[in-house]
């Protein structure tokens, strides 16, 4: 009502004006009727009415909302004030823009990977069907989203009633190239209802439907808008043309709209291919039939009226029959028992699925907390600056209060100034955030993983930035505003030229703010040091092998049309070509080697009795050719290397690492002893003789302890067919080596596809999360420290300036320069000490949140804490020493003459 009238206050003003005019007319008529002349009558009526303008004003005021009415006025005043102090304005806007920008950028990422729903119809209805497997899962995990097997998918699809439609989906990198160097595309396997469930309609052509998803189907491809633009230049002829996927020609049947990028947040799909066509690409050992291959993920749209709870109960009831029907018959008894104990449940999928989220959600929340603290410190600085300015404006405020200005009105005006600052800061911050968030994504992108996130500004992000602006305004503006207006005008006016009623109380507030800044920046400095040291430790870690000059060459002969029988010959030829390529020092075949990306493990146990001791112990297995240890720089501590004489028909031999000897045999004297490798998936057992002992290495992650590893000849334990990986060591730039290897391979057969990975890069890229934390927290820690020290310097300088007279008098009365220096430094010291004490407590409490992200350090690592405290104490003291020396150099006569 009130607001409505406010918005229509011009209208009401006119209405009342008319009404009052009517009143005057009637009154005049009355007077004329009583015999007055018209002129007289009009005057009398007016007299009787009173002050017309005042009446209208009174009504107008009733219709107005005070705040809005004076806002324009306050804004103009605020702009004038800010333009009068360009230096202050610049500092304020800059620090707010940095703070708000950093927070917004991190929030943008969080929004993209965690908070935002998929851009599909009714995303809240989407749920994933997950396998509950408390004791873990065994089998083959060939891709990133291997949550279920195909057999499970078929069972779930045919039996479930909870979802109105459901689909299976899995990621798969396809090679687009026609030979030579691999060109990867982000492919996805999709079941027939994928597009229908997600409510996607084709931009061109048609999409994969249940018609396309029948056993034994031929592959067709639906391409994404981005892929269509990139590979076909957006030509209409794309539909109906063929693309080469892992050497197989596949027809493109349709294009999806631009806003649909799949349900894998962090990646956007290039091509979708029906699940049923998988055997075309992988041959006989296909993943449709392999019941231990986990390569699909099931997502469905919950039936109307079904709650997730009801769906859970339904799935739980189904679980036993689903897993009984999907059981891999090759599994050993223990694995079968575990498999049959699995259960099913739903998990919300409105925000899509994301391995990026799994890796970065925690770091991002932590980073936004850190960035928030930086903003807090910046706010404290601004609050201090405003407090100092409030003193300067004391007289103006006193005069305004004395002539009847209300305190509320003055506070509002001060706050308008702060709000203007924080809004300008927020606008700059949002602009900055656009670049920062893009830089962050670039930071996370690796040679292995191209990250795609939709980082366009949306309402959520803008709301967040606006919220920050208002919050910061209150944080840094309210206190100074209250303080500035809470004065007794008479006292200020009486104090004459110096205008100082500033007692200890006002200093107390500023000192508390600075101590708080010191405390908070200690927290950030400490956490930054923790993350930097974690990253340092991990990158300096001795992983047990060399990374410099090692190139990983992946070769695939599938497209060249070799048969299984022909391949071993080609295989040897390829190794010879690579070995003889210019620049190559040494080369060896290797599969599932340490930190190489892929791995597999099996149960191992000593062949000579004592099987109980090593029960349930697993060893990783590397299949390698002779020379592998020299290429990788893994020391051979005893025995011999794998040799060319270890052929498929020769006795089985193995080189084990120290951890193997220690953990399986309990002794280092194991040369010549034998152990059994038990393949629980395919129920086979092989007995190997130990011929050598190699040094320990990291296997799947730099963070883990050294695990048990066995190296076996790839002739005796063959790996993948028609493909191989060769590790190369070289002392020349790897770019030249790549070119030479490409030429060498082409001489064997140009249709063989080649992919390169620089081993050092590959290792470093496993540390991207740690590097992100170290870089950003380091930056924020530094920023926090600088802000706090500037704040400290400012406040001490201000206090010294305010106490000029007092110091002058002290000196005149005989105080020495050193005693003045000591006095100021003692004041600062108390402040710093208080801040550091509080900060230490906060840091120890806060560091617990980071514990899972640390490596080789406790969250309360004393050395790091002491380092942080000393560093901050030293810098703070230096900052305080500058104004202290200025105070000590004061000429008492000058100070007193100013009086």
């Amino acid at each position: 009502m009130r607001l409505w009238r406010f918005l229509r206050r011009k209208h009401w003003d006119r209405e009342r004006e008319l009404e009052i005019q009517a009143h005057l007319q009637i009154e005049t008529d009355d007077f004329i009727a009583r015999g007055m002349s018209p002129e007289e009558a009009r005057r009398a009526a007016r007299r009787k009415l009173g002050n017309l303008t005042q009446i209208r004003e009174e009504i107008y005021e009733m219709n107005s909302l005070g705040f809005l009415e004076t806002l324009g006025q306050d804004l103009r005043y605020a702009i004038r004030m800010l333009r009068l102090n360009p230096a202050f304005t610049l500092v304020a806007v800059l620090s707010l823009a940095l703070g708000i920008g950093a927070n917004t950028a991190i929030f943008q990422l969080l929004d993209a990977v965690r908070l935002r729903s998929l851009p599909v119809a009714k995303p809240a209805e989407l749920y994933e069907v997950q396998v509950v497997s408390p004791k873990g899962r065994s089998g083959n995990f060939p891709n990133r989203y291997g949550h279920i097997t195909n057999a499970m998918w078929e069972q779930i699809r045919d039996r479930q009633e909870a979802f109105s439609s459901i689909f299976a989906w899995g990621d798969w990198p396809f090679d687009l190239s026609q030979g030579g160097r691999v060109r990867q595309a982000e492919g996805i396997w999709v079941s027939g209802d994928y597009f229908r469930t997600l409510g996607v309609s084709p931009l061109m052509g048609r999409l994969i439907s249940s018609e396309d998803d029948r056993r034994g189907c031929a592959p067709v491809a639906v391409i994404s808008y981005a892929f269509w633009q990139r590979e076909f230049g957006g030509a209409a002829s794309a539909v109906g043309s063929t693309v080469s996927l892992d050497t197989h020609p596949v027809q493109v049947i349709g294009v999806t709209p631009a806003n649909f990028t799949g349900i894998d947040v962090g990646h956007r799909f290039d091509l979708a291919v029906p699940v049923c066509s998988e055997p075309v690409f992988s041959g006989k050992e296909n993943k449709l039939e392999r019941r231990w291959a986990w390569w699909l993920t099931a997502v469905g749209r919950l039936r109307p009226g079904w709650s997730p709870k009801r769906a859970d109960a339904h799935l739980q009831a189904l679980a036993s029959s689903v897993f009984a029907a999907a059981l891999p018959p090759q599994f050993d008894a223990e694995r079968q028992k575990n498999f049959l104990s699995y259960s099913l449940k739903t998990s919300p999928a409105a925000q899509g699925l994301s391995d990026l989220r799994d890796t970065y959600e925690d770091p991002l929340w932590l980073l936004i907390a850190i960035a928030g603290v930086v903003l807090l410190i910046a706010c404290a600085n601004l609050a201090n600056l405003l407090l100092a300015r409030a003193t300067a404006r004391e007289k103006e405020v006193a005069v305004r209060l004395a002539i009847g200005g209300s305190r509320g009105r003055l506070v509002r005006q001060f706050l308008t100034e702060s709000l203007l600052l924080s809004l300008v800061g927020a606008v700059c911050g949002v602009l900055l955030a656009r670049f920062l968030s893009q830089a962050l994504v670039a930071f996370l992108t690796t040679s292995q993983q191209t990250i795609f996130l939709d980082l366009r500004m949306n309402a959520m992000v803008l709301l967040f930035a606006a919220g920050l602006a208002i919050l910061t305004c209150v944080l840094f503006g309210l206190l100074p505003a209250l303080r500035a207006t809470g004065i007794a005008p008479a006292a200020v006016m009486k104090a004459g030229g110096r205008g100082t009623t500033a007692g200890r109380e006002r200093f107390t507030l500023q000192r508390a703010l600075v101590a708080g800044q010191v405390a908070l920046s200690l927290v950030l400095l400490f956490s930054a040091l923790l993350f930097v040291r974690t990253f340092h430790k991990l990158s300096m870690l001795n992983a047990g092998f060399r990374t410099d000059g090692v190139l990983v060459v992946s070769l695939n002969g599938q497209r060249a049309g070799y048969t299984k029988e022909q391949w071993p010959v080609v295989d040897r030829q390829l190794l010879e070509r690579v070995r003889s390529a210019p620049g190559v020092d040494r080369a060896a075949r290797a599969e599932n080697f340490p930190m190489g990306g892929g791995w597999f493990n099996d149960h191992v146990t000593p062949a000579d009795g004592d099987a109980a001791k090593s029960e349930g112990k697993l060893s990783y297995f590397t299949m390698a050719s002779p020379g592998f240890f020299e290429v990788m720089g893994i020391p051979l501590l005893a025995g011999r290397d794998l040799a060319d004489t270890d052929t498929a028909t020769a006795p089985l031999v193995a080189v084990i690492n120290q951890a193997f000897a220690r953990k399986i045999f309990g002794t280092t004297d194991v040369l010549g002893r034998r152990f059994v490798k038990i393949d629980g998936v395919r129920r086979t057992a092989m007995t190997f003789e130990i011929v050598g002992i190699a040094g320990d290495t990291k296997v799947t992650s730099l963070r883990e302890d050294n695990e048990i590893m066995t190296y076996v000849p790839d002739t005796q334990l063959p790996g993948a067919e028609l493909s191989q990986t060769i590790v190369v060591h070289s002392n020349v730039p790897l770019r030249d080596v790549m070119a030479a290897v490409l030429r060498g391979v082409a001489q064997v057969n140009p249709a063989i596809s080649v992919d390169f990975n620089v081993f050092k890069t590959q290792i470093e890229e496993t540390l991207v999360p740690e590097s992100l934390m170290a870089t950003l927290s380091g930056f924020f820690g530094l920023l926090a420290g600088v802000l706090a020290v500037i704040g400290l310097y400012g406040v001490i300088s201000y206090m010294v300036a305010q106490r000029r007279n007092e110091i002058g008098i002290r000196m005149a009365l005989g105080a020495g320069r050193s005693s003045i220096l000591k006095m100021v430094l003692r004041g600062a010291g108390t402040l710093i000490a208080a801040g550091l004490a509080v900060g230490t407590v906060l840091a120890l409490l806060g560091a617990r949140a980071a514990s899972s992200l640390l490596f080789g350090l406790r969250p309360y690592d004393p050395a790091t804490l002491i380092l942080a405290v000393l560093l901050l104490a030293a810098v703070s003291f230096l900052a305080a020493a500058i104004p202290a020396r200025r105070a000590a150099r004061l000429e008492p006569m000058n100070a007193l003459r100013d009086e």
């Binding site: 009637i26 009787k48 009446i55």
Partner: protein, 117 residues
């Protein structure tokens, strides 16, 4: 009409009384501002002199609270005028106000009367 022995009380009214008086004059039916002013004067036998101007902010306030509603009509002598009528909540408001007022009058009366003891 003129009774000069008691001076008019204009500008000395207790706060809130004008609202009550306006509501009371509207009990009999809709009226425009001029009529309301004259009715109050007339019925108080000119003790209460309403400054006509102050009537309009009061009317505006009452309408804002939803106690009265207004419409444009034609006056007795054919002038366009804004008419006011009592709303349901205005009627209720008047009843409570009148009660409170009576209580107040009685209370003040008891205080001012010389005590019997």
């Amino acid at each position: 009409m003129a009774k000069r022995d008691t001076p008019p009380l204009s500008g000395e009214m207790l706060p809130g009384t004008l609202d009550m008086l306006i509501l009371q004059t509207l009990v009999l039916g809709a009226a425009h501002g001029h009529t309301i002013a004259h009715l109050i004067e007339h019925r108080s036998e000119s003790v209460l002199q309403v400054e006509h101007g102050s009537l309009y902010p009061a009317l505006h306030r009452l309408e804002d609270r939803g106690w009265i509603a207004s419409f444009w009509g034609t006056s007795e002598n054919n002038r366009k005028a804004r008419y006011y009528r009592l709303t349901r909540s205005g009627r209720k408001q008047l009843a409570t106000h009148t009660d409170r007022w009576q209580q107040l009058i009685r209370a003040i009366g008891r205080v001012l009367q010389p005590s019997n003891e």
